[in-house]
């Protein structure tokens, strides 16, 4: 926040904190980079004020001398907050001791271990020894829904999950039942926690009380390696972390992006990584129906491109990245391109504005931006095929389960001299290919897509391609190189640079690395570029002001193994770094 955007300042531990009118101590502190611990508070939910871990001492509160909760106490001008002093430390130590009174010490077998706020705060503020010698209370364990298991003994009754179901999902399946130390979270008998966003309650739970049944008991979380990507399940394009271990996706978790998905993602998206592990996936290349080495298949494909002498048509889908589309467009030259879109699916609008898009194509907007209008594409492709002028038809089918090609198009494809198919799944009704190559799942891809709101976002390769597949974009570029359309194969960043420079106004001024973790809206490439004023490099934190918790699902955790440095391209010239492709 710049100096002009705040109304007044107050102090936390002597540090001046700019604040807007109505800000709480916690919110203003987090925005200014001062962390105050919290369990029950979440930026996307109403304030409950029940966990008491954010207690601080502050001046200008009533009655004087009584500690206040930072999450519900409004900051006022000139207020002095003690968040890191002996008195506050004693408060937190006290609350931590109470929280652990009835909490089981089952961290070794708890799935939350490693990303548990209770663990983290125990480390930060806990007592070294326990004074509790009494038997602990026992509370029930239950599957609340298809995706969520509740382990009652671990629950600290912060009510984040209850508030989420009420205020965000709007379905209200959860309630606090019981009273006092014997309160816990439950559903009404016969009612399942199965709203389209139910998985979020596991993300929200600051302890191991609500677990994602899909990923629990599979991997210790500290082994997971996170990749900041965008979900490829629908046109919403939720910002997510693709969390992997041993080159396998173990779970997808949402990442905060206020312009796209706030803090949430849907269950359908959450489980969509399983498509990449489907038994129908194409894993080996095939030439004329027989398994072949990838190199042989690619050689055959490049031969066909040369033979086709420009008689190339292409079929693609709303799942292709902008870079793939751009390369495909170059490949066909003036030839027609047909686009198939996955059919509409279910939609859901949460009370806070988060929406699951009816459009299940992650890049419909990108197709429109890169290829322009494609309505006539299919008819043109069929016409070209029927006319027998097609030397090579390239089918790029990255849709899990197969794209819905029209029967007439499939029938017409038989007339192509050669047919190169990049397919995600080998499903009945797929085109009979001369050369079949495995296509990638979106969790394996590097590139950009444009979500339904027109935001250009990056997909990042979290796992290597399945089987002996190679990167789709590279395959397409190899073909382009064989057709003498480009001298060498570029990275996605390189293709994007060409796309931004060459093509439509919408990508104008965009920089691949400059898209950052949160993306840039179409047409705003220039505005989003950091101003170059000859001073020190501006440090732009890709994360927004605050996060759901310090450890659990913290957006920063995903990138911690890959330190990325984004440098403005004009500055890069000064460093002697070649522009664009790295």
């Amino acid at each position: 926040m710049t100096d002009t955007e705040h109304d007044f300042t107050f102090a936390i531990d002597g540090k001046s904190i700019p604040a807007r009118k109505g800000d709480t101590i916690l919110k203003a502190g987090l925005r200014a980079g001062v962390f105050i611990p919290h369990y029950c508070w979440h930026p996307g939910l109403t304030v409950a004020g029940n966990c008491r871990i954010c207690l601080v001492h502050a001046t200008k509160t009533m009655p004087p001398g009584k500690p206040v909760i930072a999450c519900a106490t409004q900051a006022v001008e000139g207020m002095e907050v003690e968040s890191d002093g002996p008195r506050t430390k004693a408060l937190r130590e006290g609350v931590m001791e109470f929280l652990l009174v009835n909490h089981p010490l089952d961290c070794p077998v708890c799935d939350q271990a490693g990303e548990c706020d209770l663990q983290q705060y125990s480390f930060d503020y806990g007592r070294a020894t326990s004074r509790f010698h009494e038997p602990k209370t026992q509370r029930p364990r239950k599957d609340l829904g298809p995706l969520i298991r509740f382990v009652g003994n671990r629950c600290i009754v912060c009510t984040r999950c209850v508030r989420f179901c009420e205020e965000v999902a709007g379905t209200g399946e959860l309630g606090v039942v019981g009273r006092g130390a014997m309160s816990w979270i439950d559903t009404f008998p016969g009612v399942q926690l199965d709203n389209p966003l139910s998985g979020c309650v596991a993300d929200l739970c600051p302890v191991g009380a609500l677990l994602d049944r899909d990923s629990m008991h599979t991997t210790r979380v500290w082994l997971l390696r996170g990749t900041e990507s965008a979900c490829g399940r629908c046109a919403t394009g939720c910002n997510i972390n693709v969390e992997t271990w041993n080159d396998q996706v173990r779970r997808l978790t949402p990442r905060e992006n206020q312009a796209v998905n706030r803090w949430w993602m849907c269950d359908e998206g959450r489980l969509s990584y399983k498509e990449a592990q489907a038994p129908t996936r194409v894993r080996r290349a095939r030439v004329d129906g027989r398994e072949a080495s990838f190199l042989d298949a690619l050689t055959r494909a490049t031969d066909e491109v040369r033979k086709a002498q420009g008689g190339v048509v292409a079929l693609t889908t709303g799942f292709a990245t902008n870079e793939e589309l751009f390369t495909l467009k170059a490949l066909v030259g003036k030839g027609p391109i047909a686009v198939a879109y996955a059919p509409d699916g279910s939609t859901f609008k949460a009370r806070d504005g988060f929406e699951i898009s009816r459009d299940k194509n992650p890049n419909r907007k990108g197709v429109e931006a890169v290829l322009g209008a494609t309505d006539a594409g299919e008819a043109a492709v069929i016409a070209a095929l029927e006319a027998g002028k097609v030397g090579l038809a390239i089918v790029h089918d990255g849709v899990p389960g197969g794209a819905p090609w029209s029967p007439t198009l499939l029938a017409a494809l038989k007339k192509a001299a050669a047919l190169l198919v990049l397919a995600h799944d080998d499903v009945p009704g797929a085109p009979a290919a001369t050369v079949l190559l495995p296509a990638m799942h979106w969790t394996e891809k590097e590139g950009t897509v444009v979500n339904g709101g027109g935001r250009v976002q990056r997909l990042r390769a979290a796992v290597p391609p399945t089987g002996d597949a190679r990167v789709d974009l590279e395959v397409l570029q190899e073909l382009a190189r064989a057709a003498a359309l480009q001298p060498r194969v570029l990275s996605a960043a390189g293709v994007f640079r060409k796309l931004a420079a060459a093509a439509p106004l919408s990508f104008d001024g965009m920089d691949y690395n400059g898209l950052g973790a949160l993306g840039v809206p179409l047409g705003e490439g220039r505005a989003a570029r950091p101003a170059s004023n000859g001073r020190a490099l501006p440090v732009v934190d890709a994360r927004t002001g605050y996060e759901a918790g310090p450890v659990s699902r913290a957006p920063g955790r995903a990138g911690d193994e890959q330190v990325r440095v984004s440098v403005h391209r004009e500055s890069a010239v000064g460093y002697g770094t070649p522009r664009g492709d790295l």
Binding site: G49, C51, R131, G180, A181, S183
Partner: protein, 667 residues
């Protein structure tokens, strides 16, 4: 995906209301600004329709009130007083809280258990009786007390109980026969009308004032039935409200401020000042609400029950005055779920009041409407906390709310709301001319305040304690009961004087007194010669609180007494804030261990640390309510705690106190 856990979900029987019940529900819904507020009353309809509140009933109510079933389940499970599907025809709840326990409730409960052949929480095989342990029923002068389907059975001993049970077996309709039963020690006359002054002329003689004081608040009580509208008017009632509505509201608030009336619910906040916090309609437009806190559940307190059951119109008259002052058109009386009879009396009295124009479209004059609704709670001590009460009134779990905003700014349904105790409101008619009294008379009663800066000893001044006051004395005195005695009399005299409580039972010695209800500190025998007023008792290290005075004789085991108190608080913590939810139960378990001879000296330090870690760290003052007694009992009677630890047993053999040797009065 991990394999699913086996589930054993209860079956949900489909339920539907009879047309009469449906109509009743619709009528109830109309009484509240929001549908949700009808949840507790709707569940009471379920109880009547289906015999209990089961999952089918909850689902039905959820549909009727546009709530989610989980919300209804959460609310029902918060309260203890709804009939469960497993309950028998008669639910017998035996009070186990300290005032009853001091008068033999533990032995009595064992007898009941033996007699019925079941343990607490169980139901007899024939499905006739369910036995439950319960908490303070607000009839502590008539201990031991039990409730049968919500109606009190008082002054019980094994023989009386057996007789009543036999009668119940013969005539199942007789469970409520003892409603409004007689008090053993009614206090209707001045203690000694002819008493002589002992203080020099020109000095206030509080003892003389008290001895010659004619009971005011309890004047129309002890008839064994509620005072009717006619009786109340004949005594000079409803004159105050008539006078008050003719005075501009701001002036009424000023007069109440001037009277020095302090809230009688426990905190002792100046009532007029509280009313003064109500914002103007320009600042906050919309409705104002008056909510009467009749959730009298602080153990040892039984004044509000008496006032409501015996003289309901006194409360109703006060409601008119308070509503006029704060500009409310709707008054809600939130009455404890356990007070079934009290709620019946109030309903009747309100009907009478409507008939006589006390409430209705023109109640406040000039066409200003005033409606009054009785809202029954369902068994949760925390609902006596004003914001928890509002949460419960709105149809939710009784969770206290974050303050600020205070209810006067944002209370019931988000509108400015005043929550006042029954006795506080009952004070109002006196200062506006009812019963031939006046504001000057009112101000002359009790101990005066002191302006700030007058006396260097009290730089912030003294608020004083004025107006009539009812004291609830229970425990080991010869004559437990309600004493309508003005502020200023010595606590010791109230307890020991034969004209009042008549000293300690069985000729025993006094050990200690809790002057304000179980949430407050205990005073030792040598500390009790203190004036009964807010300032003096605060100086002595405790509080007037809700004026619930427990008296312990020298046979009392203070460790056991503290365990009893902490059992209550551990059971009643709402569970919202971490320190209270976990601290109350932890402390209770430690004290239980000490009482059972398994304590260590470190435990005493731990209890102290728990108290320090919890006090002032929670949304409401419940943490203080269990911490203050714990710290105080240990400080005042440390030798007893040490003896338990050193001897590794309770020196009294695990008994709270010696059984009484004298015969009890009959009801």
């Amino acid at each position: 995906m991990a394999t699913a856990l086996p589930t054993a979900e209860p079956t949900v029987v489909e339920r539907s209301f009879s047309p009469a019940a449906e109509a009743e529900l619709q009528a109830i819904v109309k009484k509240y600004p929001e549908k949700r507020a009808a949840l507790l009353p709707a569940l009471r309809i379920c109880e009547r329709e289906f015999g209990c509140v089961d999952h089918g009933g909850m689902k039905l109510v959820a549909e009727k009130l546009d709530l989610t079933p989980a919300y209804v389940l959460g609310t029902v499970s918060f309260y203890t007083h709804f009939r469960r599907p497993s309950d028998g025809t008669f639910v017998i709840e035996v009070c186990r809280t300290l005032p009853c326990a001091l008068r033999g409730a533990d032995d009595f409960a064992k007898h009941v258990s033996r007699k019925l052949g079941i343990q607490p929480g169980e139901t007899t095989k024939d499905g006739r009786f369910t036995l439950k342990n319960a908490e303070c029923m607000a009839a502590c002068d008539k201990a031991p007390v039990a409730q049968v389907n919500g109606y009190n059975w008082e002054l019980l001993d094994p023989k009386t109980f057996d007789e009543l049970l036999d009668q119940l077996m013969k005539d199942p309709g007789s469970f409520n026969l003892r409603k409004g039963c007689k008090d053993p020690y009614p206090w209707t006359q001045p203690a000694e009308p002819t008493a002589q002054r002992t203080k020099p002329e020109g000095e206030r003689d509080y003892e003389h004032e008290a001895l010659t004081h004619e009971p005011q608040l309890l004047r129309r009580c002890y008839k064994g039935r509620p005072a009717t509208y006619a009786e109340y008017v004949a005594d000079g009632g409803y004159k105050g409200s008539k006078a008050a509505v003719a005075i501009p509201p701001a002036k009424v608030t000023e007069m109440v401020k001037d009277s020095g009336l302090r809230g009688r619910g426990g905190a002792g906040f100046l009532t007029g000042m509280k009313w003064g916090f109500i914002p103007s309609t320009e600042q906050v437009p919309g409705n104002r609400y008056l909510v009467i806190n009749a959730d009298e559940s602080e153990p040892g307190t039984f004044k509000d029950r008496k006032l409501m059951e015996d003289d309901p119109h006194l409360l109703l008259e006060g409601i008119v005055i308070a509503s006029h002052a704060i500009g409310a058109n709707d008054a809600y009386i939130y009455i404890r779920g356990e007070m079934v009879y009290g709620a019946e009396v109030l309903e009747q009295a309100i009907a009478e009041a409507y008939k006589n124009g006390v409430f209705g479209p023109d109640a406040l004059g000039f066409g200003k409407r005033l409606d009054c609704v009785v809202h029954r709670g369902a068994g949760a001590y925390i609902c006596g906390e004003e914001t928890a009460l509002l949460s419960s009134l709105e149809g939710g779990r009784g969770y206290p709310r974050l303050k600020p905003p205070f209810p006067a700014i944002k209370g019931a349904w988000g509108q400015p709301t005043i929550v006042n105790n029954v006795e506080t409101i009952a004070n109002l008619p006196y200062m506006f001319g009812a019963f031939g009294k006046s504001l000057d008379w009112y101000k002359g009663l009790g101990t005066p305040g002191l302006a700030p800066g007058v006396d260097p000893k009290w730089p912030r001044g003294r608020l004083g304690s004025r107006g009539p006051k009812v004291w609830c004395v229970s425990g080991h005195v010869n004559r437990p009961g309600l004493y309508d005695v003005p502020f200023g009399l010595s606590l010791k005299q109230l307890i020991m004087d034969p004209r009042y409580c008549g000293g300690i039972r069985d000729g025993r010695k006094l050990k200690g007194i809790v002057p304000g209800g179980s949430s407050f500190q205990v005073l030792k025998a040598d500390e009790v010669d203190v004036a009964l007023c807010y300032d003096a008792i605060a100086d002595a290290g405790s509080s007037v609180g809700s004026a619930a005075i427990f008296v312990f004789d020298d046979s009392t085991c203070m460790v056991n007494a503290l365990w009893n108190v902490l059992r209550f608080y551990a059971h009643e913590s709402c569970g919202q804030c971490t320190p209270c939810r976990e601290g109350s139960g932890w402390m209770e378990r430690i004290v239980a261990r000490i009482e059972q001879g398994m304590g260590t000296m470190e435990d005493l330090a731990t209890i102290d640390a728990i108290a320090d870690q919890a006090c002032g760290k929670t949304i409401c003052v419940f943490a203080e309510a269990f911490s203050w007694p714990a710290q105080s009992y240990i400080k005042q009677f440390k030798d007893e705690f040490v003896a338990h630890i050193k001897q590794r047993r309770c020196p009294q053999g695990g008994r709270l106190c010696a059984p009484s040797t004298t015969a009890r009065p009959k009801a």
